[in-house]
């Protein structure tokens, strides 16, 4: 079954077109990486997929149903913190927010607690569960947001630059975690780290207003140049040269 099906999607903010004629399918249990330049529309596309924005034209189906009917199957890790650091709330209570989707009348709060603790453990944050969220470092907060998305028990996990402020050791563990999670769920991840993308991801989508979907994870110079419209500097930053070179030898 197709996890995500996007057809003829157009989106604009007021009069700024951001996404034009986007078409792609994501199969169940795929691991898709989305790359593209700043302002290319990655976050916008993801917000449409999780139902935060409505496209002006086109359709988005999640497991063959409209997004609004499937929200409770999607775990979302946003790019930035949308909350106030002075908010008096503990790490565990933030994590539990992923359980709000369970529209049962009698909620099993003991079960929610257990699930939240389990998810915090996965991101190595269980020992901090009673701390105030505002007292954590940026990377620690980001891990809590990942745990929060996991408590949804999602069929599709969507992450917007989840590793931007996570250190390299935790980052490695994190990719291993995603790899394991991928056995039971579809994952879509935005990242500027092309090295990581090409190592862990199965399929790659390049987005810069228009989207080019690649059913393999090989990154060629042409792909990058097309997406980034050849700002060589930009490529050189996130990309270990050897990956490119290897590819060139293969061709």
């Amino acid at each position: 079954m197709k996890a995500i099906e996007v057809k003829n999607l157009f989106f604009q903010y007021e009069d700024l077109p951001v996404l034009e004629d986007i078409n792609f399918d994501v199969e169940e249990k795929d691991f898709v990486g989305i790359i593209g330049p700043n302002g290319g529309g990655k976050t916008t596309l993801i917000k449409i997929l999780v139902g935060l924005l409505k496209p002006q034209r086109g359709t988005v189906n999640i497991f063959e149903k409209p997004v609004s009917a499937m929200n409770h199957h999607i775990g979302y890790v946003p790019q930035s913190f949308n909350f106030d650091s002075s908010f008096p709330i503990s790490v565990i209570d933030v994590t539990k927010m992923g359980r709000l989707n369970q529209s049962k009348i009698f909620k099993n709060s003991a079960e929610d607690q257990l699930i939240a603790e389990e998810c915090l453990k996965k991101v190595d944050m269980l020992t901090m569960k009673d701390k105030l969220i505002g007292n954590l470092s940026g990377g620690q907060k980001q891990r809590v947001l990942i745990a929060r998305a996991l408590t949804v028990k999602p069929k599709i996990l969507i992450l917007d630059e989840p590793t931007a402020s996570i250190d390299s050791k935790a980052g490695l563990n994190f990719y291993e975690l995603l790899h394991r999670l991928n056995e039971e769920m579809t994952i879509i991840m935005i990242s500027h780290d092309i090295g990581v993308i090409s190592q862990y991801v199965e399929k790659i989508a390049c987005l810069n207003k228009k989207l080019v979907f690649h059913d393999s994870k090989e990154i060629s110079r042409e792909m990058l140049e097309q997406t980034y419209q050849c700002p060589v500097d930009l490529i050189a930053h996130g990309l270990p040269h050897r990956i490119l070179d290897e590819h060139e030898h293969n061709h």
């Binding site: 999780v50 139902g51 935060l52 609004s68 929200n71 409770h72 999607i74 979302y76 946003p78 949308n82 909350f83 106030d84 002075s86 908010f87 008096p88 709330i89 503990s90 209570d93 933030v94 927010m97 992923g98 709000l100 989707n101 529209s103 105030l132 929060r148 949804v152």
Partner: protein, 264 residues
Amino acid sequence: MPELFTYNFMVNALIASFLASIAAGVIGSYVVVKRIVFISGGISHSTYGGIGLGYLLGFNPILGAVGAALVTAGIVAKISRKKKQSEDMLIGIVWALGMALGIFFINLSEGYAPDLMSYLFGNILLVSNVDLVLMFILNIIVIGTVIIYYNKFQAVTFDEEFAKSVGLNTDRIYLLLLILIAITTVMLIKVVGIVLVIALISIPPAIAINYSKSLKQMMLISVILGLLFTIFGLFISYYLNLTSGASIIFISVVGYLFSYFLKK
């Protein structure tokens, strides 16, 4: 001091302080964490229009206040989807329009409106038994709703975007919160008056937030602080013969400054 309590009005005033502090502390905590103090000010000031209309058409001004507060809550919920900048401006307009309409309606009405000042600045010593019953019922509504929606209100005030992404109808929950703010505002008019409601809603939680590990705890501390401020203000107003609303707010501000320097 005990002879004070033999006065019926004093007993009523104390009960009113208690009821007002509960709703103000609980709802005020949401107002402070969600940073919608200005919105709440707009809602409370718009009630003046309803009070004026009550005078003009001859119905209970408090009913007019309830109506105006609810209408404003609805308007605010609609315009909150706009950009922050225009939202701010539109709420400022609603705020001023409410006051202007109130004055306008009172100009139009024939009779003399002697207790208008008490709507603007409150007079807790004039709280009647009927007022107390009304306050009690409104408190039940407010607290009952908060108990049922505690997790959802917390999610929407903490991170509205995530709440929406898991499928909560955040617009509806936010509207419900605004309605509770409207109800609370009306409840507080008798105690501190339209102009000062916003202080009683925001000062206790603004202090409490610094000492709280959870929203629940913040609410509890806010209620206790609100109770201290209103009762202390009440006695000052009684012994020094000052307006009760102003005394309560004055004490609250002193309390805020005290906690501010204590924290440093």
